[in-house]
C-alpha cells in the first residue's frame, strides 16, 4: 500500500496542473453546499435572535418586511413616516413600553438612528468608550462605525443626507460622545442620537443668534451644536406631528399585546403593527426555499463535474495503458495497478475534503461576519 501511495503521489506531483484542477473541482463540490448551509444558518440565527428581542413594531402602512428591515436591522434609510402622536397614543394606553425610532438619514454611509435611552436599555447597549448622548447634536456610534469611519470620542461626523438640507439649513455635524461595545448586531453599524437631533437634521428645528429674525443675515444657522449655542436651538410646529419612522413596543402583558394588535386592524388605520419574528419567519421561508433551489443547482453542477472528472480519470487511465501493460509484464498484479490508481483518486479526494473542511470551518468561524458582508 505504501508503494502504491508513493507511485500515486509521484504521478500526481508530476501532473500538477491536472491534479490542482481535480482537487479544486472536488473541493468546490464539497465546500459550496457546506458554505451555503453555514451562511444560511448564521443568517437565520442572526435574523431570528434580533427579531425575537423586538416584540412588536408599529410603523406606517405598507410593506411589513421593509418596516422590519428598516427599523430592526437598519438595512437602509426607511422612507415611511409616522407622526409622534402615534407614540403618545400607545403611551397613553399604558399597554407597554413604546420606543420611538427615526431612521431616515445617514452620515458617511452609516445609518443615523434617533431614539431614546429606552432603546439602549432594550438592546443592552453600553458604551465601551466615552458616554451616552446628553446634548442635542451628540451621538454614540456602533463599534463597526468607529472602525469603518476611523472616528473616536471627540470627533465630528457630518450628516450626509442631501434631502434634508437646503442653503438655509446646512448639514449638521454630530459630535461623537461615545462608542458602544460590540454587540454583533445591526446596532454596531448605526449612529445613535436622541430623537430631537434627527428633527434638527430634518430641518424642523435649528439654532441661530439669539434675537435675529428668521431669514435675516444675522440668523445664520449653526452647523455645530455646542454648550454655548445649544440654548438657542428651538423647534417650529406641532410636536405631535413631528416625524418618526417606527415605534418598538414591548407590551406589558399578553393581553396588552392582543389589545395592541387589534387596534391596527381597521382599514382606516394609517399605521400597522407587526411581530418582527413572524415577518422574518416568512422571509426565511423564502430564503430556505432559495437555498433548496441552490442546493439542487449545486447538486446538478456537482454531478456534471463528477462525470467530467470520471471522464478525465478514465481517459488518463487509457493514456497510461502502455505504462500499465509494462508494469503488468514486469510482474505487477491487477490489484496493485488498481491500488495505484485508487490511491491517486483517494489522495485527490482526501486533499479536496481536507481543504473543503478547512474552508467550511473558516466560513463557520467568520459566519456572522460573512452574513453581515453578504446579506446585511
Amino acid at each position: 500500500m505504501r508503494d502504491s501511495l508513493y507511485l500515486a503521489w509521484q504521478y500526481l506531483r508530476h501532473h500538477r496542473m491536472v491534479t490542482a484542477v481535480l482537487v479544486a473541482s472536488i473541493t468546490l463540490i464539497i465546500y459550496l453546499p457546506a458554505a451555503l448551509q453555514v451562511i444560511v444558518n448564521n443568517a437565520e440565527e442572526h435574523f431570528r435572535s434580533r427579531a425575537d428581542s423586538t416584540p412588536l413594531v408599529v410603523g406606517p402602512r405598507g410593506s411589513s418586511l421593509e418596516l422590519v428591515l428598516g427599523s430592526v436591522y437598519f438595512d437602509k434609510p426607511y422612507e415611511g413616516v409616522l407622526r409622534l402622536e402615534q407614540l403618545r397614543r400607545i403611551e397613553e394606553q399604558e399597554l407597554g413600553q413604546a420606543i420611538p425610532l427615526h431612521a431616515r438619514f445617514e452620515a458617511r454611509d452609516c445609518q443615523i438612528v434617533g431614539t431614546t435611552e429606552n432603546y439602549l436599555r432594550l438592546r443592552n447597549l453600553s458604551t465601551a468608550q466615552g458616554r451616552s448622548w446628553s446634548l442635542l447634536g451628540e451621538c454614540v456610534i456602533g463599534a463597526r462605525v468607529a472602525e469603518k469611519l476611523g472616528v473616536q470620542v471627540g470627533d465630528k461626523i457630518p450628516v450626509s443626507t442631501s434631502t434634508a438640507f437646503t442653503l438655509d439649513n446646512p448639514p449638521l455635524r454630530l459630535h461623537v460622545a461615545g462608542v458602544f461595545a460590540t454587540t454583533e448586531t445591526a446596532d454596531d453599524e448605526a449612529i445613535f442620537v436622541n430623537l430631537e437631533t434627527t428633527w434638527i437634521i430634518e430641518g424642523l428645528g435649528h439654532g441661530h443668534v439669539r434675537g435675529a429674525q428668521h431669514g435675516s443675515p444675522e440668523a445664520k444657522l449653526y452647523t455645530d451644536i455646542t454648550k454655548e449655542n445649544v440654548a438657542s436651538f428651538h423647534f417650529h410646529g406641532n410636536r405631535d406631528k413631528f416625524p418618526i419612522t417606527a415605534i418598538i413596543v414591548t407590551p406589558a402583558s399578553d393581553k396588552a399585546q392582543t389589545i395592541l394588535l387589534g387596534q391596527y386592524f381597521s382599514p382606516d388605520e394609517t399605521a400597522q403593527i407587526v411581530r418582527p419574528r413572524e415577518v422574518i419567519d416568512r422571509l426565511l421561508e423564502r430564503v430556505i426555499m432559495i437555498r433548496s433551489y441552490m442546493i439542487a443547482i449545486i447538486a446538478v453542477v456537482s454531478l456534471v463535474t463528477l462525470l467530467t472528472m470520471t471522464l478525465v480519470i478514465v481517459l488518463s487511465i487509457r493514456l497510461r495503458r502502455a505504462e500499465i501493460v509494462t508494469m503488468s509484464k514486469m510482474g505487477c498484479s491487477r490489484f496493485t495497478i488498481a491500488s495505484i490508481l485508487g490511491s491517486q483518486i483517494a489522495i485527490i479526494v482526501l486533499a479536496s475534503s481536507a481543504i473543503a473542511t478547512a474552508l467550511a470551518l473558516l466560513t463557520d468561524a467568520y459566519g456572522s461576519e460573512l452574513v453581515r458582508l453578504l446579506i446585511l
Binding site: 508503494d3 508513493y6 507511485l7 509521484q10 504521478y11 506531483r13 508530476h14 501532473h15 502502455a322 505504462e323 509494462t326 508494469m327 509484464k329 514486469m330 510482474g331 505487477c332 498484479s333 496493485t336 495505484i340
Partner: protein
Amino acid sequence: MIELRDLRFAYGDGGFELQVERLSIAKGQRVGWIGPSGSGKTTLLHLVAGILSPAAGRVDTCGKELTALQDAARRDFRISNVGLVFQDFALLDYLSVLDNILLPYRINRSLRLEGIVCDRAQQLAEDVGLGEMLTRRPAKLSQGERQRVAVCRALVMNPQLLLADEPTANLDPGNAARVLDILDGYATKQAATLVVVTHDRDVLRRFDETIDVSTFCTSAQWDPAGGGDNA
C-alpha cells in the same frame, strides 16, 4: 535454464501459431533470437517469461515449470527471476531515474525495498554512467540514457535470466553497443542466461548461439519474406 517442450501457442483470432517441439537454453548461455517481423520472437519471449500461457506443452524457466503455475505465482516468479528489457524502454515519465530502476520493488510485494537494494540501484546507475542523473525524469534523458535506465531496472533484482526484446532497435550504433556490453557484462559476471531478440545480424557474433524463431512459426498467414503481425 530454459526448456520448452511440445509447446503450442495461438492467438485468439487464429491468425498466428507457434509450435516448438523442443528448445533448450543452458544456464549462463547467451542466445540471440532472430527472425523477420511477425515470426513470433516477442511471443516466444513472453511465453518463456510467463507473460503468456501456451495452449499446450510445457515451459520450464529457471527450474520452474511455469505452465503449472497460477497467474499470481508466475508474476512473483517473473519479477524475482526474470529481467525484462523492452524495445521502447517503457520508463515511467513521472518517476526519477532512481525510482524507475527501483520500480520492480514497488509493484510486487514479493520483493522488499531495503537500503541495500537502493545502494545496488545507485551502483548500477553509476556503472552505466547515470550516477549524476538519479533524480532526473526520463524526458530529460537521451535515447541511449533511457535504455540504460531500462537495463538497470531489469538488473536491479539480480535476475538469473535476462530477456531483451530488441533492446537496440531505437539506438545509434554507439549506444547499441554500450547497452549490449552492459547486458553481456552482467550475464558474464552473474552467470545469468541472456536472450536477446534482434534484427541486427551484426550483433549476432556476441552470442553463443543464434536461433531463428521463424522456424517455429506454423501460421499459414505468416509470410517468411518479412510481412505479417508483429507477434
